[in-house]
Symmetry: C2
Subunit: 407 residues, 2 copies
Amino acid sequence: MRAEIISIGTELLLGEITDTNAPFLAAELPALGIDLYWISQVGDNQARLVKVLKRAWQRSDLILTTGGLGPTEDDITREAIAELLGEKLKPVPALERELREFFARLGREMPLTNLKQATIIPSAEAIPNPSGTAPGWWVEKDSHILIAMPGPPREMQPMWQNRVLPRLRPQIGGVIISRVIKLFGLPEAQVAEMVAPRLSSANPTLGVYAKADGIYLRLTAKAGDEKEAGEMITPFEAELREALGDYIWGVDSDTLPAVVGCLLAERKLTLAVMESYTGGLLSATISESPEAAPYFKGGLVAGSDEARVAYGVDYRLIAGSGRESAQMALAMAEVAQSRLGAAIGIGVTGEDELGEAERRLFGTFYIGVAYGKNKHVATSSYPGSRARVRRWVVAAALFELRKVLAS
Amino acid sequence: MRAEIISIGTELLLGEITDTNAPFLAAELPALGIDLYWISQVGDNQARLVKVLKRAWQRSDLILTTGGLGPTEDDITREAIAELLGEKLKPVPALERELREFFARLGREMPLTNLKQATIIPSAEAIPNPSGTAPGWWVEKDSHILIAMPGPPREMQPMWQNRVLPRLRPQIGGVIISRVIKLFGLPEAQVAEMVAPRLSSANPTLGVYAKADGIYLRLTAKAGDEKEAGEMITPFEAELREALGDYIWGVDSDTLPAVVGCLLAERKLTLAVMESYTGGLLSATISESPEAAPYFKGGLVAGSDEARVAYGVDYRLIAGSGRESAQMALAMAEVAQSRLGAAIGIGVTGEDELGEAERRLFGTFYIGVAYGKNKHVATSSYPGSRARVRRWVVAAALFELRKVLAS
C-alpha cells in the first residue's frame, strides 16, 4: 500500500508553524507495512489543493490529510475533496446535533459558520472528534482510501490512535508489530556497531535512532498473526538485552521520568533535587506528570554560588578547586536530601566549555545521587548548544537515578 | 516571484526527523516579497526527486532544495538536478582542493566518496559551505533560479544568511519589511476584534497569531525602498500601541525571558523564584540564556507542602483556606526574595481543575511579585493540557514581572 501525506494550511507556507503532523503520521506507517513516498504542504487555496489531491489520487492508495476542517472560509479541505470526487456537500442533521451539543456544553451558542462542519459528501463517513468541533472524514472510493483529519495535533493524534488506526489495520494483510528498546549512555555509532550483524536482517528489521533521551532500537516483525510476529521478536529482543542490558532503561512509550517515577512510587521513596547546570529543567521534567506529586518533594535551583551556600552547601567546597566536581554534585545531593527530608537526593552541576572543534560548546557535568548512605557519582561531557546539553544532562541524571534504584 | 521548497531525505518520510528547514526558509520569504505556494518532502530516490523537480521547474520561478548533497550513494540531489537540466556532472579541481583542505584541518584523510561533492554541472555555481563538506549549488537557467543547500540546519542556515540572501535580494524589485508586535494577557479573539478594521488593509498587511507566549501581530509593508516601507509601518504601529500598549511586551525576535533579563540587567537587580505549580519550569526558562547568570540567584521548587514550610513559608498559610491563593503566591515570593537575598522575588502557585467542558483541564494560578516593599499579585485561569497550562503560567509570570519592572 502506497501512502501520501498532505498537510494543509497557509500558516505552514508562511513558516509560522512547523508541520509536526506529517512526521507524526510518517513515523506510524512503517509499523503498518505502508510505504510513504510523498509528503507535501499546501496553503488554503482550493484550486491548488485540488491539484495536489488529484495527483495523490493518481499515484497513491492511501491519502492522509491534516488541516482545513475548521469553520472559517479559509478551511477548504471538505470543498476540495468534494471537487476532487465530483460529489456534492450535504448537511447531516446528526452531525449538526453533535456540534450544537458541543457548544451547549461550553455554555455558548454555536456560530452559524460552524454549520459547514456538519456537511459531508456521499462517499465519506464522519470520524468523531471528541477534542474539537471538526469531525474527520473517511473516504473510500475506487480502491482508494482518503482520510481527512483536523490540523491541531491534540485533535488529530487521538483521532488517528482511536478511530483511524483500528479501522485501517484490518485492511492491511498480515500483522506488523514493533518494539522499541530505549538506551542511554552509549554513542549512536557504538550501538550501531554492536548490533551491526542484525542491521541487515529483513524480518524482523532493526533500526537505530538517536533521540534527546538516548538511543532507540526499533524491532519490527511482519507475520501472519500477532502470536507469530511476537515469536519472531522475542529471541531478537533477548539477544539485544544480552548485549546492551546495562544501558537499557525502557521500552515502547516509556519515558525516563515515568520509569523513574514508577520505581520511586513502587518503593514508596521520595526524591529531592539540587541543580545548577540545568537551572530547573530537571525539576520541571520530574514534575511534568501529575503523578509525581507523592514522591517529588521539591528542587533547589542554584543560579549562583551564594544560592548554593544559602541552601547549605559547605562554602569551602565552592572556594576550593572542587567548585564543579563530582564531590560538589554529591554535596548538593546530600543537602537536597536532608533539607527536603527526602529518601533520595540528586545533585547536578557542571559548566560549558568551548570544545576542540571551534564554536562547539562542550558541557562537562557531574551527577551525584545520595540514597540513604549509598553514594553514587557520574560525570560526562556532551557537545552541542546549551539547550541540547541541558536536555541531555537531565536525561543523564534520570538514567543515573534509575541505575541506583535498579541496583 | 513564485517559490517552491523541496526537502530531500528518506528520514523525513520515515518520520525520524521533522523538517525544520522548510519552515525556516518559508518564514524568510514573505519579507522578500516572494510568494511560496508549494513545499514537499521527498526521499532519496532519484526518479521520484527528478519528477518533483520537473514539476517545480514548470510552475515555480525559484526552487529551494535542502538535503541530499552529502558524500554517500543516498545523496542524489546533484545527480537529479543534472538529469532535470540534461547536463553532465564534471569534477572541479578547485572544489576538490577545498575539500581536501577541509579534511586536512581535521587531521583526516578525505574518503574517496567525498569526491562527488567536488563535481558540478555547467549551469551551476558552487556556494561555499564553511560549516561542512557539501557546497551548495546556485543554478540559473531559462529565467529559473534553483538553489540547492545542505540538509543539516547548522550548515543550511548560515549558507542562506551569508551567501544566498545577499545574492537573491537584488534580483527582487522593491523592499518588504515586517514588524512583529508581541502581546500577552488578551484572548486572540479579542485582539482580532480590537484590530478588526485594520485586518483588511492591503498594504501594510496585518496578521494576528496565537503563540505559546501570547498573541503576535505581524505588520508587513511593501514599498520602493526601505525608508518608504518604514514610513508606512510607523503610523500603523503607533496606532496599535495606542490601543494595546499595556499588553505589549516586545517586538520582532524578543522573547519574554530576554526582555525581563534586559530590564533586570539594566537596573542591576537580582531575581529569585519560588514555584509549585510550574515545578521548575519558570526557573528553567529564566536560566535558559547564559546571560541570566548575573541576575538569576536561584529558584525554590516546592513539590510538596512540607517543602514550602522547609523553605520558610508560614505553615498557617498552608493549613488555612489560602493554600492556593494570591496571599500564598506573595508569601512564596517574599520567602524566595529573602532566602536568596534577591532584590525581587516571584512566587507561582495554583492547581488544575477539570473545566466545564469534560476532560479539559483548567489551571487556576496565582502569581506574586515582591520588589522591595512593592507587592503585586495576579490571578487567572487557562484551559488546556498540563504541559500547555504550565508553559502559559511561565509566560504569565514573566509578563507580570515585566509589568512591575516597567511601571
